[in-house]
């Protein structure tokens, strides 16, 4: 066309990867589109409705907040797996930090609350970056408990954090599966407007 779009790529390798990803995605999407028939459209609509409801429920139940929306908005054709990557990094971080905290709290003798606090601070930062609302809320409580050096409270809170992030992980996995189903059925993943 007359207008050429100039995009800035961070690095050639990144460019290539992004290009490949976007190309493969667009090809798969378009080919799936071409395969779609009328019965499939109804199926796609049903899946999309399911997805929308699921996402809304996650927000309503407080699992996710606005930051997650921001995160999703950063994902585009150039970075199609951005959210997935960030989330996997976050959950790895969770595993690591929870492990650290567990070890710190398991120590016989004096518990190094400052270390626990540092880990909690990290987890709080991470969870707030990805929009894991419940986890962040728990982290704030945890932080207070650490400052108060409440051992039982910390242990309990840690358990809650453990449960919470695993639950969130499962839920987000379901969400991704739904997305994949929609794409396979030839539809587009809908943008869910929370407000």
């Amino acid at each position: 066309g007359y207008f050429s779009e100039t995009q800035v790529k961070p690095s050639p390798k990144e460019t290539k990867r992004q290009l490949c990803l976007s190309l493969s995605l667009s090809i798969s999407v378009s080919s799936l589109h071409s395969l779609s028939l009328y019965p499939m459209d109804a199926h796609v609509a049903q899946l999309q409705m399911q997805y929308r409801n699921y996402i809304l429920s996650l927000y309503q139940q407080g699992f996710l907040d606005d930051q997650f929306t921001e995160l999703k908005s950063l994902q585009d054709d150039g970075t199609p797996d951005f959210v997935a990557e960030v989330l996997s990094l976050f959950f790895d971080d969770c595993v690591k930090l929870v492990g650290n905290m567990a070890r710190a709290l398991d120590q016989t003798g004096t518990v190094d609350f400052s270390q626990v606090g540092a880990n909690v601070h990290q987890l709080k930062g991470s969870s707030s970056s990805v929009g894991a609302k419940r986890v962040k809320g728990l982290c704030i409580n945890f932080k207070e408990l650490c400052e108060a050096k409440n051992y039982e409270g910390c242990v309990r809170c840690l358990q809650q954090v453990d449960i919470e992030y695993k639950t969130l992980k499962a839920k987000l996995q379901d969400m991704f599966n739904l997305e994949k189903q929609i794409v396979q059925a030839g539809g587009i993943v809908p943008q869910v407007d929370i407000n």
Partner: protein, 736 residues
């Protein structure tokens, strides 16, 4: 004949001999009288056409009765009884009746019979006439058959020689000729040459001049003309005295096709060329030329003309086709050679360009570096000259490469959105130093309706304007230079083959550069845009320039679907260079660029902006990076302050540092960065990412020399606004 025999006489003693003779004669007469009707009946029966049967019957009766009387006479000689007398009387009476009736009848019949005779004569004449006509028609039909056969023979081939030979052979056969010859006009047309003969196998190369009276006579009419056997064209065989030469006929054969006819000093051109066909009857046959034979000859001559013209046309087309094939082959070879040459030139250019650029860069780079060092004034002057010359050389190389790429058509415009007003100002800023030195005031007039943000190839447009304005400055010794830019609709000042049609999202920019300098001879104007051509005198030639500038500008203008031309009143009267180019209008405001898919808004200002993100938390580091990448920045990440100090350079425009972790160390980085970059314009902007933005945090950030604060987690819009404000004002204290 009838005679009343009065034989009743008294019986006298007659002479015995006389009696006897009478007796015999009567007998014979009776016999004759009886036999004649028999014969008549017999022959009439045989003829079966005779219409007068009744008359014959009458006649027969008459004769019979006459015979009967004579017969009865035989008895009267001896006895004269009453019965005999009765019979005699009866017979005589009957005879009288019949003969009178017959006489009366004959009055009617004899004229009829006579007329039959005349009719018979008439019919015989008619039959003879018809016979004659039949003979004529037959000969004509035969002639036609001959002509058809001849034509078929002649037209069955397209070979000229075969046609002519066949004609002569067939004519000779049909008309039983002794000799048949064809005289063709020579190339010059001044003579007739004996080309073909029937009997002689190898005709002698025998020519007669074309202007002979007998030949003119034959050529003057389309009919076959009888000529004298002694005329030069008819003397084809060695003449032997004792033979009476047969009649000779000549006819013209029009040659309907003008072959390669060299008109050297031929004063008048005869529009029609004829060949001469001469036909000779056998010598001692005393045969004459009949009309139908002459007609046959004329028809044949016409057919031969047609056949010859076809043959000639065929020859011509075959020749043309062969020529075309040769030319095709030659063109193919030439094309391949040209392609090879172009390829070789491109390879050469590419290689040479690279080879030349490398030392060029070295020279320019090192000269620039040298300029930065301590130099004496003379040294500085020298270095500046070196720099100027080498940049000129670099420009020349670029020009040459550009031009060759332009000519190949491999150059494509790089479109983008840019500020048109700024472009003009930049060009003027570039030219101003030289203009000031030469004391030439430059004025820029931008039309009020000139769009500010346009879509086009910014670099090349600048190149064009620079070239034109540069030329104006170069070739003016005094006066002023005015640059005018406006939006043009269809203007009658444009060259007639160029029509300006403003479309919806595009417009045509017209730039006029007017100077009062040397001017150009109107005759030289067309040559201006050709490569390497220079029209200036030696005096102005020293100002440099390769002559490629205008040629390249013209190519660029053409690529932009525009037109460029120069108007000048003459030498010393200055000149105006005008060009139109097609540009697109940018709909967006200054902040965002071309409208895009909503999920990916880009800001042209952020494109390629190098930033550094420092965050200990992997996840938030990744999120921040993703955000900035989304905005189009080039993001580098570090996870510790030491790493940050190591990595940060003057290339980074902004550094985002996470100051969430409790402690003051993070703010130390800001100080260290301030120390590292002494010159203010080289220091990157510092933005803190923090979890709370109360007043104390802000004050602390300010005190440590941070340029901005951002609340985590950062939203896309926030980041965008912050970056824009930062880059615009270089300082910001963020609102939530």
């Amino acid at each position: 004949m009838m005679e009343v025999c009065n034989c009743i006489e008294p019986q006298w003693p007659a002479d015995e001999l006389l009696m006897k003779y009478q007796y015999i004669s009567d007998f014979f007469i009776a016999v004759a009288y009886f036999s004649i009707p028999l014969e008549l009946i017999y022959f009439v029966k045989k003829s079966a056409v005779f219409p007068y049967r009744w008359v014959l019957v009458q006649f027969g009766a008459f004769i019979v009765l006459c015979g009967a009387t004579h017969l009865i006479n035989l008895w009267t000689f001896t006895t004269n009884s009453r019965t005999v007398a009765l019979v005699m009387t009866t017979a005589k009476v009957l005879t009288a009746v019949v003969s009178c009736a017959t006489a009366l009848m004959l009055v009617h019949i004899i004229p009829d019979l006579l007329s039959v005779k005349t009719r018979e004569l008439f019919l015989k004449n008619k039959a003879a006439e018809l016979d004659r006509e039949m003979g004529l028609i037959r000969t004509q039909e035969e002639t036609g058959r001959h002509v058809r056969m001849l034509t078929h023979e002649i037209r069955s081939t397209l070979d000229r020689h075969t046609i002519l030979k066949t004609t002569l052979v067939e004519l000779g056969r049909t008309l039983a000729l002794e000799e048949c010859a064809l005289w063709m006009p020579t190339r010059t047309g001044l003579e007739l040459q004996l080309s073909y003969t029937l009997r002689q196998q190898h005709p002698v190369e025998y020519t007669v001049p074309i202007q002979l009276p007998v030949i003119n006579q034959v050529f003057g009419t389309s009919r076959a003309v009888k000529i004298s056997p002694n005329s030069p064209v008819a003397r084809l065989r060695p003449v032997s005295g004792k033979y009476l030469l047969g009649e000779v006929v000549a006819v013209r054969v029009p040659l309907l096709h003008l072959s390669n006819f060299q008109i050297n000093d031929w004063p008048e051109l005869s529009t029609k060329r004829y060949a001469l066909m001469v036909l000779m009857l056998p010598s001692d046959s005393a045969r004459q030329w009949h009309v139908h034979e002459l007609e046959l000859v004329e028809v044949v001559a016409d057919q031969v003309a047609v056949a010859l013209s076809h043959a000639a046309i065929l020859e011509e087309s075959m020749r043309a086709r062969d020529l075309l094939m040769e030319q095709n082959v030659a063109l193919d070879i030439a094309r391949r050679e040209a392609e090879t040459a172009i390829r070789a030139r491109n390879d050469f250019l590419a290689v040479m360009n690279h080879e030349m650029r490398t030392p060029m860069h070295a020279i320019i780079a090192l000269s620039s570096l040298l300029q930065e060092t301590e130099l004496t004034p003379e040294q500085r002057l020298m270095v500046e000259t070196v720099l100027k010359s080498s940049s000129l050389l670099a420009t020349l190389m670029n020009d040459v490469l550009d031009l060759s790429r332009l000519e190949d058509g491999s150059l494509q415009l790089e479109l983008g959105t840019f500020n048109l007003h700024t472009l003009f100002r930049e060009v003027l800023n570039l030219i101003k130093p030289i203009a000031v030195v030469k004391k030439l005031p430059i004025t820029l007039n931008l039309a009020p309706d000139l769009p500010e943000f346009v879509v086009g190839d910014e670099k090349r447009l600048m190149q064009i304007i620079l070239n034109i304005v540069g030329n104006a400055v170069k070739f003016s010794k005094q006066g002023s230079i005015s640059v005018t830019a406006l939006v043009t609709k269809s203007d009658n000042r444009a060259p007639p083959d160029f029509f300006v049609v403003p479309t919806g999202s595009h417009f045509y920019l017209r730039v006029k550069v007017k100077d009062l300098g040397a001017g150009i001879n109107p005759q030289d104007i067309p040559k201006l845009f050709t490569k390497f051509a220079q029209t200036q005198s030696l005096a102005t030639r020293s100002s440099g320039g390769s002559g490629l500038g205008l040629a390249i500008s013209k190519r660029f203008v053409n690529l932009m679907e525009g037109n460029i031309w120069i108007e000048s009143e003459g030498v010393g009267k200055g000149c105006t260079a005008i060009f139109d180019v097609k540009l697109g209008i940018s709909n967006e405001s200054k902040q965002s660029g071309i409208p895009k898919v909503p999920a990916n808004p880009q800001h042209v200002n952020f494109a390629g902006l190098k930033v550094l993100v420092m965050d200990e938390n992997g996840v938030s580091r990744m999120v921040t990076k993703g955000l900035l990448v989304h905005l189009g920045c080039e993001v580098a990440t570090v996870s510790s302050s030491e790493e940050c100090l190591r990595v940060v350079s003057h290339e980074h425009r902004v550094v985002f540092m996470d100051v969430c972790t409790p402690g003051v160390e993070n703010y130390q980085i800001a100080l260290r960065i301030h120390e590292k970059f002494t010159k203010r314009h080289q220091r990157p902007l510092l933005v803190a990412l923090t979890g709370n933005t109360d007043k104390s945090t802000k004050e602390r950030c300010m005190s440590f020399g941070l340029d901005g604060v951002l609340l985590k987690p950062v939203s896309l819009d926030n980041m965008r606004n912050v970056l824009s404000d930062l880059l615009e004002h270089r300082v910001l204290y963020e609102a939530m």
